[in-house]
Symmetry: C2
């Protein structure tokens, strides 16, 4: 039996959407990471297929959203169908147009989970990170993390190669992230308590290439037949349509073990529901049967060095199309904090915010999910608008863009409920919405989000107001001076880590006078730092020539401006006046201490 | 000395932009193709860096425009600077905003030629086509193509591996495309006559990371100093800026051999021109010196089986940023015709249109080029608007979207000058502009161009008018019936070539009533053909719900509609009434004969 031993900063168990996202984010930091999965390949078919706005924004922040947008189905219209009492035939009761993306640049995309995993795997390959497949975590030991016997690598996982039996790998890690799915092995090892609720209903799900004369088959439909039950359809890539079929009549929870409908049985049921239309198929891509249930762990960080993310932490019905999205967003929330702690000397206390930020999201998801399931049941009692009411009410949450993190070491406290007076449309803890501005240097339009990419730094957006007014120009000069005198902030901003790593803090200026009224090089050098090899940096200053940003954020174009600090995950950390560099300084001191 | 012999349908000599485009297009057809290049790798730095709208459309039609859009610089503002007589310092005389893309969805992109070659190489790799590098064509023999000794593979090229000397390859080909650049070896072998004009001026060109306080360095500028001459700057990816520097004072044509300015000399000259600003650099990516000259071959098809494309056929100054674009467009024009002849039995006479369509473009390019060069010289005599006048006048030509092919076997003749009454804004021979429509099946918005991809078929767009009016629905049914009765057309449309190849003709419907007023499956089956494995095809019918297409093409929404036939390269081949299937039939008969 061959074996090997290694030491890593971060071990990721599980290479589903959560684990892969964790690995992508970790690749931005100077830390050693391994990611293992017991399976031999990524998800090939089925599973999640709804990709929400915020997930698309995150993928964009890694520069990998294009293949998803190109492969997926966007913005389909929706319809609700139900039986006419007279005929027993279904008829279209309502049409809904897709509303594209509200306050995100992206709407929802339908595409199979495997395609999302693939873009993450491709991204990792370009960073020379490879998923170690066919490798199953088998034992977990945790050593003390404080006191005299304190260990630097307190997590010990033994993993065994599934195929080449005999090869054993002992991995000593500083931190472990359990992204090992609904039946989480790590969660079981640590006996993490969960709250469980299950409903007495069972659904079937299939991805087929349907052959049907149902006219709305390429739209997202809910279809209800008095006699035969309910289905939901979701159009997908490559002629596929996802069918969710309520199997309640055939199999209550208990009976499930005995009742095993085949895909053909389920399609026959759907065919009855869709009368007078007919449904058959030749190709079934994937199918599954699941009882509806919800489970949420009590602790996201069951041990000082162990985190649960994704389905390992929470599961629920697929109704809202949330599972993969929330899983990706868990990992996206956690890793930059670990990166800051492991590679930039941040206080480990910031890791506490993982649970305080992400568990409430999962809790709200549980509420949404039970309301949705109830609405679908109501639907069967003929209240067809219920589903859409719930969907409307939770639209921003489901899109992932309304999620606002509470006050913590990483999000300062606003007046009330995160509000501030400086930027009336922003709330502390929300992810910064993006608006089109133009580069000061060349007039090229750019979405601010494109400058807030996932490469590590916090970003301080300086809204200077109208620089044609001398007092605004003076205020900007004064800000730059104060900032530059604060050696702590300058350190964060100036850290030139080897191998092209980013500094911890980056400054960006968005000014409100017309671009042509201002010369970039007349601005304080902070906004066009000079490098003797490459000259000035021209890409840190923007003008609001499209009249979107100041209006969008609720900042007065002619007012005194303000400072908005975004975390590496684009959530708003702090908002203050241009004079308030000392508050900014304290924010970073509480995270990095004074020594960094 | 080892050697090998092989037989191919198509041999491409040269893997620059023209050769690579040819190979990409050829990969759509069931024909064997080889592409060889004497160089060991693609262009790494320098050369072309302006990618025009039409080129971007073509790249999009292969599904590979995204990486170009993501890497390149878009829509920069422009400025003209000139010396003030008083001070001798340059000052900004004019600003011009980038006008985004006129009648194309794409504006101009600045990016190095190597990046374009890379996306083409990547595309080929996915199709399992590899450029044979380090392989130089050494001898060319042509055998008779008619008469008794008629050869199937009349082109014989001996190529030799540049590195592993000794390996010799004898390639027998049906057709040869010479994409071997400005010093074309094939052109020389065949002694093709060229018209040459050279001007007595010489320019230097460099790609540097500039260190300068010139405020418009990230814009596209023309800068003229009375005392020191002219430069043009073009901002590029990765902090680079391209400088074109007129060296006229230092070196007239004849003197060039003796005068060899280094990049540093040229930057010093630019620095003098840009006074009071300063210019230096640390990194020079690429540089070159060239005399301005123009050369155009008399024949694009010097032999029945040999075609010249790209720089092999035409060269000129880089002023208009045209070379790479016109080269790509040459190859794009030629290959689908060869594909039709080699794999679909089209009449070889259609190959004559390559020269009749592409040579006039190159001729017009020569005129544009000489006018531009003259304008730059005028500029030096203080007529600063000359350049912009020429650029404005030729904007559509330079963007590549105004190019209209003349009447031929492949483009039918319109009333006068290609105009027709059915679609007032279309002209025969132009590339079809694209508008946003929605899919009939799901309401998803799509640009028509996205359905006119480069995969082979001609496309017949059926503009049926408003299908709520019974006579329009009848006319559509009548069209479908007539079309279906014409076995020749049905054959073209129905050809199910193995390995997922496309038919020769695809029908698409664009109807003008609101989408929700029409049920796709109520339309003639031609527009939702049934396949027993995959069911109906839902992606051939569109509604003009965004109110763009009918208006854009100049078709009356409430009128009798019309038929618009696009060639595989999206150029309009024929326009007729819904009743005129017989004209359509003759069009294809003249190309494919009756037997196909
Ligand atoms: C029918 C269905 C429909 C769904 N629809 C949607 C939807 O529309 N939208 C949506 O967002 N979500 C949906 N989901 C949920 C979505 O699939 C999951 O939420 C998502 O996959 C969770 O990602 P994850 O990375 O947390 O876990 P997983 O994707 O489950 O990945 C866990 C990984 O850990 C590995 N692993 C487990 N134990 C070990 C071990 N001991 N050692 C090594 N590796 C291990 C597994 O092999 C697996 O690859 C759906 C799910 C189902 C089943
Ligand atoms: C300074 C400069 C600036 C330019 N700026 C622009 C611009 O802004 N925009 C623009 O559109 N164009 C520009 N161009 C022009 C552009 O680079 C060319 O038009 C383009 O490369 C032509 O493409 P091609 O495929 O026809 O030929 P090439 O790119 O020259 O490729 C020919 C290939 O054939 C190979 N070859 C030659 N002989 C043989 C043989 N016997 N056997 C095997 N292989 C052989 C060569 O190795 C070469 O790879 C510029 C050119 C220069 C020099």
């Amino acid at each position: 039996m061959s074996s090997s031993t290694s030491f890593v900063d971060l071990l990721i168990v599980g290479a589903g959407p959560a684990g892969l996202t964790a690995a992508c984010w970790a690749a931005q930091y100077q830390m050693s990471t391994r990611i293992i999965d017991q399976k031999g390949s990524r998800t090939e078919t089925g599973h999640a297929d709804g990709i929400q706005s915020r997930t698309l924004e995150i993928l964009e922040s890694f520069g990998i959203v294009d293949p998803i947008l190109n492969q997926g189905i966007h913005d389909v219209d929706m319809a609700h169908w139900a039986t006419e009492p007279g005929t027993g035939n279904i008829e279209r009761h309502k049409r809904y147009e897709a509303d594209s993306g509200q306050s995100s640049r992206f709407g929802q995309i339908m595409l199979n989970q495997g395609a999302v995993e693939q873009v993450l795997v491709d991204y990792l390959r370009n960073k020379n990170v490879y998923v170690e497949r066919h490798k199953e975590a088998k034992t977990l030991h945790l050593l003390p993390v404080d006191g005299e016997d304190k260990e630097e690598f307190p997590v010990i996982v033994r993993a065994r190669s599934v195929e080449k039996c005999g090869v054993e790998d002992t991995i000593h890690a500083r931190y472990l992230i359990a992204c090992d799915g609904a039946h989480s092995w790590v969660r079981n090892q640590l006996d993490v308590q969960t709250d469980e609720i299950s409903e007495a209903s069972t659904w079937g799900v299939l991805d087929i290439v349907p052959i049907t004369d149902f006219p709305d088959i390429r739209q997202a439909c809910s279809i209800h037949s008095h006699l035969h039950g309910s289905i939901m359809t979701v159009p997908r890539e490559n002629r596929l349509v996802r069918f969710y079929i309520h199997l309640r009549d055939e199999c209550k929870e208990e009976a499930l073990k005995h009742y095993n409908p085949s895909p053909r049985d389920m399609v026959e049921k759907a065919d009855r529901i869709m009368k007078p239309y007919t449904l058959t198929y030749n190709h079934c891509d994937w199918w599954s049967i699941y009882p509806i249930g919800r489970r949420l762990v009590r602790h996201y960080r069951p041990h000082d060095r162990v985190f649960l993310a994704g389905d390992a932490a929470h599961t629920h019905s697929p109704k809202g199309g949330q599972g993969m999205n929330v899983s990706i967003q868990d990992a996206y929330n956690l890793i930059w904090k670990l990166g800051a702690v492991i590679t930039n000397g941040a206080q480990p206390t910031i890791l506490e915010t993982y649970e305080t930020e992400r568990r409430p999201v999962a809790k709200q998801l549980m509420t949404l999910d039970s309301r949705l399931v109830r609405a679908y049941e109501d639907e069967e009692n003929d209240n067809s608008s219920g589903i859409y009411e719930v969907r409307e009410q939770y639209a921003g949450f489901m899109a992932g863009i309304d999620i606002t993190y509470p006050h913590s070491t990483l999000v300062t406290q606003g007046e009330e409920d995160g509000a501030t007076n400086f930027a009336k449309n922003l709330r502390l803890g929300m992810r910064l919405p993006s608006f089109l501005v133009v580069y000061q240097c060349d007039g090229v339009p750019i979405h601010l989000a494109k400058r807030l990419v996932s490469d590590g730094p916090w970003r301080l957006l300086v809204f200077s107001g109208d620089l044609r007014q001398p007092e605004r120009m003076n205020a900007l000069a004064h800000f730059a001076e104060t900032f530059s005198r604060c050696s702590h902030l300058m350190n964060l901003q100036g850290i030139q880590v080897p191998k092209g790593r980013c500094p911890i803090l980056e400054l960006l200026l968005i000014q409100s006078s017309p671009r042509s009224a201002v010369n970039l090089l007349d601005l304080p050098e902070l906004f066009h730092p000079f490098d003797h090899l490459t000259g000035w940096d021209y890409w840190k200053a923007f003008a609001d020539d499209r009249d979107q940003a100041y209006k969008g954020y609720g900042i007065d174009k002619n007012g005194p401006g303000c400072l908005v600090l975004c975390r590496p995950d684009q959530h708003v950390a702090w908002i203050g006046s241009m004079e308030n560099t000392s508050e900014l300084d304290s924010y970073f001191s509480s995270i990095f201490g004074r020594s960094s």
